[in-house]
């Protein structure tokens, strides 16, 4: 069971939208952006409030890549692997981040909950390839060295 505050927050978000099924996605998007993930219990709760069954709500939430049932790190790093970035060697950027964080293909969030690593298919900043974003801030024309500097900075800000 989650703390009561979670349900209060969910009520608040639901009241901003409405209780029709078409608001399911905007509601869980807002919940996710507030908590940085979608607590499964809250999804069940939202389903109940919207009068749709739990299975339906889960089928929707699991369909879209943006929803995560697991808590994400403080810094969500999204590496673009779109065509333009791929042609300009985004794989080397990804490898460097693996090195910096110890993350890999099966592990997306560091144990200290500092970094979450995701790859996305295109951030639409193709003119600046290869790019990545840290909490939605775009870092352009990346190189493995610039990735190293970026992590030094982020880790420095965390006093590590």
């Amino acid at each position: 069971m989650l703390e009561q505050s979670y349900y209060d927050k969910a009520d608040e978000i639901i009241s901003q939208h409405g209780t029709e099924q078409r608001f399911l996605i905007p509601i869980i998007q807002d919940i996710q952006s507030y908590y940085r993930y979608l607590p499964p219990d809250l999804l069940s709760y939202v389903a109940k409030c919207l009068g749709i069954n739990e299975a339906k709500a889960y089928s929707v939430a699991t369909f879209y890549e943006n929803f995560s049932f697991e808590a994400k790190g403080k810094y969500v790093i999204r590496v673009c692997d779109g065509t333009a970035c791929h042609v300009r060697k985004s794989t080397a950027i990804l490898d460097q981040i693996y090195k910096e964080t110890g993350l890999g293909k099966g592990k997306h969030t560091t144990d200290d909950m500092l970094f979450t690593l995701e790859t996305v298919s295109c951030l639409g900043a193709c003119g600046l390839a290869p790019v990545l974003t840290v909490n939605d801030v775009v870092h352009a024309a990346m190189t493995p060295d610039k990735v190293h500097e970026l992590f030094e900075e982020l880790k420095g800000a965390e006093g590590q």
């Binding site: 029709e20 099924q21 078409r22 608001f23 399911l24 996605i25 905007p26 998007q29 089928s59 929707v60 369909f63 879209y64 890549e65 943006n66 929803f67 692997d81 779109g82 065509t83 333009a84 970035c85 791929h86 042609v87 300009r88 996305v120 298919s121 295109c122 951030l123 639409g124 900043a125 193709c126 003119g127 600046l128 390839a129 790019v131 939605d136 801030v137 775009v138 870092h139 352009a140």
Partner: protein, 623 residues
């Protein structure tokens, strides 16, 4: 500020025009996603700070005294040269501007009307003072993107001042809905989202449905990797697109419009929200618009990371709060679309074309582009090309003109190899296609498609087999899983391509790829599935010899396929320090200290650790 009738709108527009003219100079700092990433927000702040110190200079929009207008504009399209700063009325364009350059720009260009030479764009020894003269811009025809970079993207008054909402005014007061539909049909505007379907025909079909509850939907789920035209329009000139949607609403008798924007475009979402709020406040959206009795509202839905939602029926399902999966058609979207009601569904660029067709007329529109595909098309030009960015050219422009004249040719002067057009649903165009005119019909003949308009240039160092694998990996990941051909077929095709790049492919693999590709194309449920195999089939056709090299000779001449590389130690350079052997994770390197070491190719996993660690550069990669 509620504009209640036509007269009030005309007055408002005159005021906005005067206000826009009032500043002696305008500084337009690009605030598109690209330039913001380069630090343009700081540049904007710096200019504000500099202007504030200036006596007799005000930065407020609409101030009565002589002043400098400092604006955050939309994307100029020349993203690689960002952050960009444009000065008006001299039209100087400064590239790669840094915060510390601001005082010099202010001193030289604002006070003395002189350009700052070192910040100008330079190519082949020529410096270009004004934006209009730079070949990248001079050779384009910017109609849809006309305002992008030239007006404040967050200020509706500037849009009004440059003639915004005149088309809405015209349709509401001078045209019947039928006339609007006829004008769009007459212009032969074709959908810019990929298919090239006639927009006017779509509207006509919706308008004649019995059901009176209808919707207008805008597809802003620009998911093709390597494409960002729609993002730039939404960020740089959001009102233009809203105006197009309102006109569509009037033409088909809809009261509500929905914009579906992908979540990866947070700035576009914010600018659209702001634009909608401004239009609502001004009374251009809402009830009884300009006193004509026309009601229209626009809502925004954020995508949640599913590429397939770019497909019409998947998109409407997603707005309804369902899984974004395509359904079988008929019924078509025009009959039963959003909430099972008749729906007009067009993409961002298509709607952005509508106001100018209404303003200038269908005949004028047809004078641009080709007979079968009138108008212009915006392309995102990226990859191995000198000038990457967003461009707009008349339909029917040759590929050569785009890559060489506008794009400046291939980066680092490496020989040209191909252009991938239309993203994961498209195909590739090769050297022999350079003279091909880019329009819907010519490309169809070549089994390629314009798609949403991504053009990724590839040079001789790109491995086409790897590119095919890359696209298949993308489509396979994004397959929604509803129909078997796409779900299973893309998986099998990806497996085969992975085998080929790993050196495990056979001649049989190529045959199976072709068979599977054809089967998927013929039997998949939706447009995305039907086109999923195109990149593979297209590369198989155009670059068969490269596939054969991978399969028969087990080599990749471009050196892209890691598994087909061999790491070797050059005996003449090796000093026998043993560092490589100590760093090898699989103990594949052996030798005596002070004598040349050797890599056992049977054990080597090609990780490259030896190459990175060799202090003498004795380890080499061979393909």
């Amino acid at each position: 500020m509620n504009i209640q009738n036509r007269k009030a709108l005309t007055e408002k527009r005159i005021q906005a025009k005067e206000a826009m003219k009032r500043p002696s100079h305008r500084i337009l700092v690009c605030a598109g996603t690209g330039c913001l990433a380069g630090g343009s927000a700081k540049i904007y702040d710096k200019f504000l700070e500099l202007a504030a110190k200036e006596e007799g200079v005000e930065v407020e929009f609409g101030a009565e005294i002589a002043h400098t207008g400092i604006k955050r504009s939309g994307c100029h399209g020349f993203c690689e040269m960002g952050p960009l700063v444009r000065i008006e009325p001299s039209n100087f364009l400064y590239i790669k501007v840094k915060e510390e350059d601001c005082s010099e720009i202010f001193e030289e260009s604002i006070r003395n009307d002189r350009p700052v030479e070192r910040l100008l764009y330079e190519a082949d020894g020529v410096k270009y003072e004004t934006q209009e003269k730079i070949p990248f811009y001079a050779k384009q025809t910017r109609l849809v993107l006309k305002n992008c970079g030239h007006i404040d993207a967050e200020n509706m008054d500037e849009y009004l001042a440059v003639g915004g909402y005149t088309a809405l005014e015209k349709v509401l007061f001078e045209m019947t809905p039928e006339e609007v539909v006829d004008e769009i049909s007459e212009a032969n505007l074709r959908g810019r989202g990929g298919g090239g379907f006639q927009t006017g025909y779509k509207w006509k079909q919706v308008a004649r449905q019995k059901e009176t509850e209808r919707y207008v939907v805008c597809n802003g789920d620009e998911g093709d990797p390597g494409a960002f035209m729609d993002r730039s329009v939404m960020e740089g000139d959001p009102h233009k697109m809203l105006e197009g949607m309102m006109i569509a609403g009037y033409a088909v008798g809809a009261k509500d419009g929905y914009i579906y924007v992908r979540a990866e475009y947070p700035l576009a979402i914010n600018r659209l929200k702001l634009a909608i709020a401004q239009a609502e406040e001004a009374g251009l959206l809402g009830e009884n618009i300009l006193g004509t009795g026309f009601d229209f509202r626009i809502h925004i839905n954020r995508g949640a990371g599913a590429f397939v939602c770019g497909e019409g029926s998947a998109l409407t399902a997603s707005i309804e709060g369902e899984r974004g999966m395509p359904r079988t058609k008929p019924p078509r979207t025009v009959e039963q679309g959003l909430f099972a009601k008749p729906t007009v569904l067009n993409n961002v660029e298509t709607y952005a074309n509508v106001p100018m067709i209404i303003n200038e007329g269908a005949a004028w529109y047809r004078s641009i582009g080709t007979e079968g595909s009138p108008g212009t098309k915006a392309f995102a030009l990226t990859g191995s090309v000198k000038n990457t960015g967003l461009i707009e050219v008349p339909m029917g422009t040759t590929l050569r003109k785009i890559v060489y004249d506008i794009g400046g040719g291939v980066k680092n002067d490496v020989p040209f190899k191909a252009v991938q057009i239309g993203g994961p649903s498209g195909g590739c165009l090769v050297t022999s296609n350079l003279e091909v005119c880019l329009d819907f019909d010519s490309l169809k003949k070549l089994n390629a498609m314009i798609g949403s308009g991504g053009l990724v240039v590839m040079d001789q160092n790109t491995c086409m087999v790897e590119v095919a694998r890359f696209f298949m990996n993308f489509t396979q990941n994004e397959s929604c899983g509803k129909c078997v051909p796409c779900r299973e077929g893309t998986k099998r095709m990806l497996d085969i391509l992975e085998d080929i790049v790993a050196g495990k492919g056979t001649m049989e693999s190529l045959k199976t790829l072709e068979e599977l590709g054809e089967a998927i194309t013929n039997t998949a449920l939706c447009g995305l599935g039907k086109s999923a195999a195109l990149p593979v089939l297209s590369t198989l056709r155009n670059f068969r010899e490269e596939y054969l090299e991978h399969v028969q000779e087990k080599c990749c001449k471009t050196g892209n396929c890691q598994a087909l590389q061999q790491y070797k130690i050059r005996p003449d350079l090796c000093k026998g320090c043993s560092k490589c052997a100590r760093n090898c994770p699989v103990h594949a390197i052996d030798g005596k200290v002070k004598e040349p070491f050797v890599i056992n190719q049977e054990i080597c996993i090609k990780c490259g650790a030896c190459l990175e660690n060799c202090p003498f550069g004795a380890v080499v990669k061979e393909s």
